[in-house]
Structure formats: C-alpha cells, structure tokens
Symmetry: D2
Subunit: 259 residues, 4 copies
C-alpha cells in the first residue's frame, strides 16, 4: 500500500530507541525524511545510522532534551517545513498518589503535557497553511485504564489527549490530522531491561519473567515495535486524512471496556 | 507498506458497491482473493469485473441475500479457508422511535445483528485453528453518537459491537482480530443518490446540496470510499495483529466526544 | 431530602424481588404509588404486602409475563397516568458465543430489547404531554465491560441503551428523563441462591464462597439492594430533571475504565 | 430520603457562591457542618450567614486562596476530622490554543489540577482510617466534550479526573468514594453576569440572550444550582458508598455521545 509519504519531513521526538525509533524507521521506509532525537549522542547516531543504512532518505540527528526551550527549538529547526510530528517521551517513575508532591506534579505536567504542546505550537500554523499535517501522539493504554501507581504518567497524558482532541476538530479542515496511539506491552529495549531486572531480583530466568507477563495479556504475546511503527506510518499516510481525533489502542485486545 | 495479504481469502459482505466494494478492491489490490456479494446479479458482475481488470487475484461472485440462511451459506462456501471477513450491510430506513413496531424491531435485529453474527460463527473456529483471522465490521458513527431517528440502525449495531468486543478478547490469542470501522459521510453512490433526491425536492443544484452538507462536517469535505478501503486493508494486515477490539472512526474528525 | 415523589405513579417491571423490589420499595417510601410485577403470584403478593405494611401508598399487583403483549398491556393498565417507569427483567443464561443460535438470539433480543422498548412506547407520549416522566433502565455493568460468556445479555442491553440515549435528548425538553443504572454484584436472593449452589457444588461454606467473591471486588463487599433502590429513587426525583441520558454504575468502583 | 449526613463535616472549596454554594447549602440542609470558602471576605460572610439562617449546623468561614499553600492549609484546618471534600474552583479565561504559552499552562495546571490534588492528599488518609469519606469533584461537561477555546480548562480537569478515577479503586474499600459532577449551563450569578455582558454588548435584552442560549440546550432551560446541590448531597450520602469513580453529567441531556 502506497502511503504517499515520499519526500515528507517527519519530526519524531525521543526516537533513538523503542517505539519512537520504530515510528521513525517505518516513516523512513515509506520515503519520509526523518529527524531523529534523543538525549544521548551515541544512541542518536546509532539510530540514524541504522535508518540511513536501510532507507534512502535524509536523516537529521538532533541530540536534545525536549523538556527545555533550547531542546525543542533545536528539533523544530530540523525542517523548515515539517509535515509530520510524532509526540513521544519517557514517563515519570511509578509513584503512589500519597508519595507525590507539588514538585513532582510540576515536573511531570511540564515535561509530559506542556512540552509536547509547545512542540505542536511550533509546527501547527505551517502545516495548516501548507494544507498537510499529521500529528501522532504516543501516549499509553493508561489513558483509558488509569492505574493508581502511575498517576504522574496518566494525568498529563489524559490532559494532552483532551487538548489534542479539541483542536483536531479545527485543524482537520486544513488536512492536518491529530491522533493518538495507546500502546501496552511492547517488547522494547526498556521492556527487556525491566524484565531482566525482575529476573535478577527474583533469581529466575528472563524466559520465566516473560512467560508470566504473557499469561496476563489477552494476546498471549508482547507487541513488536515494528507493528507499532507501521500503525504510526498508516496514521500519517496521505490517505488517512479522514481519521482524526482517534485514540487507537495497540494493546493486543487487552482493554476490557467498550472500545 | 507490505500488508502481507497476498493469497489471503477475503469474504466481503455487501460489496458490489459503496464502502463494501471499496474494501474488497483495496484487499484485492494487496493481493487477497475476494468473494464479492450483493443481491443484484448485474452489480455483482460489474464489481467483480472491475476488480479482476485491475488486480490479479481470484474473484468469486456470490449473488445472495445475507439475511437468509441460504444466502449466508452461499457466501461462506466461497472459500474453504477464509482468512478475512468484512461484515457489512444496508440499514433500515430512518424511523422515529414512536413509529417503530415489534415487526420492525424483529426485522432489523435479525438482519443487522443476528445475521452478521451467524456469518462470524461460520468462519471463527477455522480462523482460530489456522492461527490467522481478520474480522472487520463496518458499522456507523452512530455507534458513538446515536441519533433518535435512526434507532432501528444503531440499536443492532451497538449490540453487534458489544458481542464482537467481548469475544475479541478471546480470539486475539489465536491471531484472530476483530475491529470495527465507523464511517460518517462518505461519497458513495448512495450518498449521490440521496443528495440528488434532495436537490430535486428542493429545486436546487446538486452542488448546492453538497456544499450545505460539507459546511456541517469538521473536515469540510466528504470522505472518499478509497480512504475507507485502505483503512480496512490496514486493519486486515498481517502486522495489525496487536490491534483488536477497536472502534476506529472514519468521520473526518466530526465526533466531539473524547475518542 | 424531599424527592418530590408523593402521589406519583410508578410502574416497576419485575419488582417482586431483587433490585426491582428494592426500587419499588424506595419509591413507595418516598410516597409514590407503585405497580408491582412478577410472573409468580405468590411473590407478587408478598412483595406488595411488604410495601403496603411499611408505606402508605397504593400498591397494585400485576402478575404478568412482560415478554408477552398481554403481560405488557396488563402492567401498562395499572395507572392511567404513569409518572415513572423502571425497566427491569431477568437475563438469559450464560452461553458462550459459539453455542448461541438464531433462536436464542431472537428470544433474547425480543425479551430484553424489544419488550422494554414497547413498554417505553406505552408511557412516553403521556409523560411528555403531562411534562413529567422518569424512566430508569436497570441494565448491567456489562454494558461497559462486556463478558464473552454473556453475549446474549449484553448485546440487547447495549442496544437498549443506545435507543434510550438517543431518544432522551428529545424527551428531556418535556421534563421526561431517561437514565440507566448499571449494577454489579448486589446481595439479592438470586445472588444468595447462586452462591449457595456454588458452595454445595464445591463442598465449602456459603461464607467461604462470599469471601472469595468479595476479594475480587474493589469495594471488598457486595452491594445492598437498598443502596440500589435509593439510587433509583434519586434519579426519579423531581429535582433530577437535569440528569438525563446517563449510565450510572453501581459497581463499588469496580470498573477500571475512565468513567 | 435520609442521606445519613447529620453531624458530618464537609469542606467545600470555592463555596461562597454558584455551584459550590449550592453544594454547601444542600449538605447543610442534610445536617452536615460545612466549611465555606472564597477569596472575598464579604461573599464568604454572606454565604455563611445564609446557611446559618436556614440550617442548624456549624458553619466555618475560611477566606483563602486555595491555589496557595497557606490557603489550602487554612481550609484543611477547618475540621480535624473531615468526612466530605468538594473540589471546586474557577477556571481560566477562554484562550485559543495558539494563544496559550508556557506560563499560562503552568498556572492552570497548578491551580486546577495540582491544587485540588493537594487538598485530596490533606484528607485522604484520615478518611480511610475512619472508614468514611466522600470526595466529589466539580469539573465540567467539557471533560467529555472538550472545546478548542477552553484547552486551559479541560486539560487540567481531565488530568484530575484520571488521577481521581485511578485512586478511587483503592479508596473504595475503606468506604471513601470519589466521583465527579460535570455541569453544563447552570443559572449561577456568573452565568447572569456573562449573559448581561452579552446583552449589553449586543444591545439586546437579557431575556433575548437567555432565550438564545436555551434554544441550544436539549432541555430547553438552564439548570438550577439547587438541582446541582442535591446531586452533590446524594453522592455524599451514607447510602451512596457503592457509587465510586463515576462521571455524572448534569447537562440536561445535552451530551450526544453514549453515556
């Protein structure tokens, strides 16, 4: 399926690894130039090299912390005319509500809600003027099923979702769509790291840890980052302009509520 | 993007025109063999001819009324090993709640809820045994925003959605996904027919009717059936196995609720 | 709190016991005359006697099967000017989707979707003309979290919900509100019967069965029918006219999705 | 209906007028002692006097800005053992997304999300230890239907909703329920002020302004603060302990989505 993305310019936040990288890689495979971003120079270089090796597109490396003004400016400067923006970023550590304090709230709301919104402001007018834009926010299945130990994560993400949904009804008339992808349980490096840590702590094998995790998943397996990247590429496609304001879960059917 | 559909067998209910045809055509373009269905022989033949002309796949013509046992059996017999089933069908005419009666309810619940479920029963065990299946139900944006004059349409569709959602949590472990597509305002033959009827009744031009319709749409335009077909093809893709139990709206961002 | 229900006439379907009885009893306590209904004469008489003993209101006994035309007519004839209608009824037995057949679907859709809608038709015009009406449907938490073994139950209930929601936007202007109550795990006679059956089958005590059930509930306890009856009475109150089209869960906080 | 609130202690944020006052007044009518709060001394005194005149309960006056540490501490000190907390507060002015900046986001997220959460932290452990608590957040219908010009309002409110929902699944086991009330279009002083301003600006009468507003409402009328207060009192009732994690809309049936 031709997604009509050849020559488009895509900014992908936090794309040196994990789901962000998978999105950048899928977009590059479809012919889009991509700006790769991360806080670590080595990881950014490696990610860029991997994409360049496999796909004949421009790859721009931006080492930057996107919770800072300078960081966002650097990434926004990657393309003078960006067509695609993928919102992504790490979340805060699990913290029970009773242990959160004003500083923790200020930080997570700034980093996970305000910062991505400032990125959106940086691209939106141009996209609307040029009559093409695709913005995809990578959030979390917890936007639909909030967990009490993850309040610092799902509060900003639901707030972000609400802003994006409301403005998307206005941007769609200029062929600028905004959608969210809600992942749950993908086999990223981070997943492997956490699973190995659990294995070490419990004195069991990585296979045993993963087996226990899979038992709790409706699909009986972890999601693969490539599947996620393809979903992102599809939402960014030229022919996806009538899909707007959607929360698409990639959770292997785990969610029990009406969709 | 390679959707991994080459050689798959797809049954598409009510596919001689409109959104059903668009789905069949997109699946065929991706290499799937398709069973085309409609109640009118001429329309089925024309749809099949169009697909065969453009795509090198097997196209099976099934003239049948799927609200009958014989009709469903005929369509289910199209492939011994179906991989894909697209649920589709016309809806009842607009009827205010006060004008509905027991017979109207019996008919619409049978035709729009029970009949598609019997089709699902006809393919589900085989798909699960073969560890691949993609079921997509074409419903309506009214599943999320029910309109009082369309009760005979959205009641069976929401009931169908509920059944499909609940069983999808079980089928996904066998790589059988079930999702819904919720269209609103696509430029199908039926749309054109209704718009022309409105134009004739009001003594205005078709262009004026369409202009008025577009004013009420967030996207400022009607959806194109090809966009819808591509969304269907994407949900049927090999790499879409982690998307299950979703209600994906194709409504040009019209829906005002949180997604 | 004065609910303004003195002298109102309330029809409560399936109210000889369980949640239906609790609703009738709460409405009677607030001064409403009530029509009590069940299929068994003895249970209807006992329920009516209990209400009359405690509350000084008119209590009408209607022994009738509401899935029949005669049954519905008998109950609708209880009051010439009904103010309140509580939709209620038993559900079909648990049946996996693969075991359902056309006859089972026809029966459950008729009994659990069409029949209550015909009851609504029987009261709606009068309520609107008199500028007061309160319709409350007792459905199930499964309207929000559909379970695969209960498809015959949640399919008609979600369809019913969709119809009621859509028409409620029109009736509210005449001070006729329509809302749903979604119970999960109340300590009714039926609950006790099923728990005792489980206890007998497993050779354990009723206390052990209930302890196991409570462990799975967020609230750590079963709901009491009186709590449910009071929720129903509140939704029927004169001052609840601005609450319309709501799905209020009474599930002890069990539901994990965003409310 | 006896709500079992006699002698309970209720903290009501921003309760010198409008919906907050209506909640405080309804709770006092049911016998609860109330702490009245506002930033203006005169309004707080007037509100307290009105409640004391009509209801025989303790009324504590707390003039305080709840977006400050001192303000929250002062209100939390009103009762050593609070049983009820009503979260309430003004929202930011309408601002299109493109006009928002980092400072505006920081302020609204602090004032409308973090501040109420810090109030919740101030009462939650005690309520859980004492096995009774009722927390009700007054949010907005925009939590379900976010409007693009109100992003600064609905973003923090949806985030707040997400936090409250997630923790409510844990608190309910200690008989501490947390619910939200989502109002739309109540006839408060603020509504009258804005309507008068519109009338003055357009050179038309207040009646004409209100008539235009009512035309757009499903109920054809504005909600009355007393109706809202009674809904709040009901959710705080002793017998409402099985209602938890709910978003109850008081919008006169305006919302078009499935409830």
């Amino acid at each position: 399926m031709d997604l009509g993305l050849r020559g488009k310019n895509a900014i992908v936040m936090a794309s040196s690894k994990g789901l962000g990288f998978a999105c950048a890689n899928a977009l590059a495979r479809e012919g889009a130039n991509v700006a790769i971003n991360g806080r670590g120079e080595e990881a950014v270089k490696a990610a860029a090299a991997s994409i360049k090796k496999n796909h004949d597109v421009n790859v721009i490396e931006i080492v930057a912390d996107l919770t800072t003004d300078n960081g966002r400016e650097a990434l926004l400067a990657a393309f003078s005319e960006p067509d695609i923006l993928i919102l992504n970023g790490g979340g805060p550590p699990p913290t029970p509500f009773g242990k959160t304090d004003e500083a923790a709230w200020e930080k997570t709301l700034h980093d996970t809600l305000t910062s991505p919104l400032l990125m959106v402001q940086g691209v939106l007018d141009g996209m609307r003027a040029r009559k093409f834009g695709r913005i995809v926010a990578i959030t979390s299945a917890m936007v639909k099923t909030p967990h009490p130990v993850m309040v610092l994560s799902h509060a900003p993400r639901t707030g972000l979702t609400s802003v994006l949904k409301s403005i998307s009804r206005e941007t769609v008339k200029d062929n600028v769509t905004i959608n969210q992808l809600l992942p749950e349980r993908f086999e990223t490096d981070r997943h492997r790291f956490l699973a190995q840590a659990t294995a070490d702590a419990k004195g069991i094998s990585l296979e045993e840890v993963n087996a226990a995790i899979k038992t709790g998943l409706a699909a009986g397996r972890l999601g693969q980052p490539e599947e996620f990247g393809d979903a992102c590429a599809y939402l960014c496609a030229a022919q996806s302009g009538y899909i707007c304001g959607q929360n698409l879960m990639l959770d292997g059917g785990n969610y029990r509520g009406q969709a």
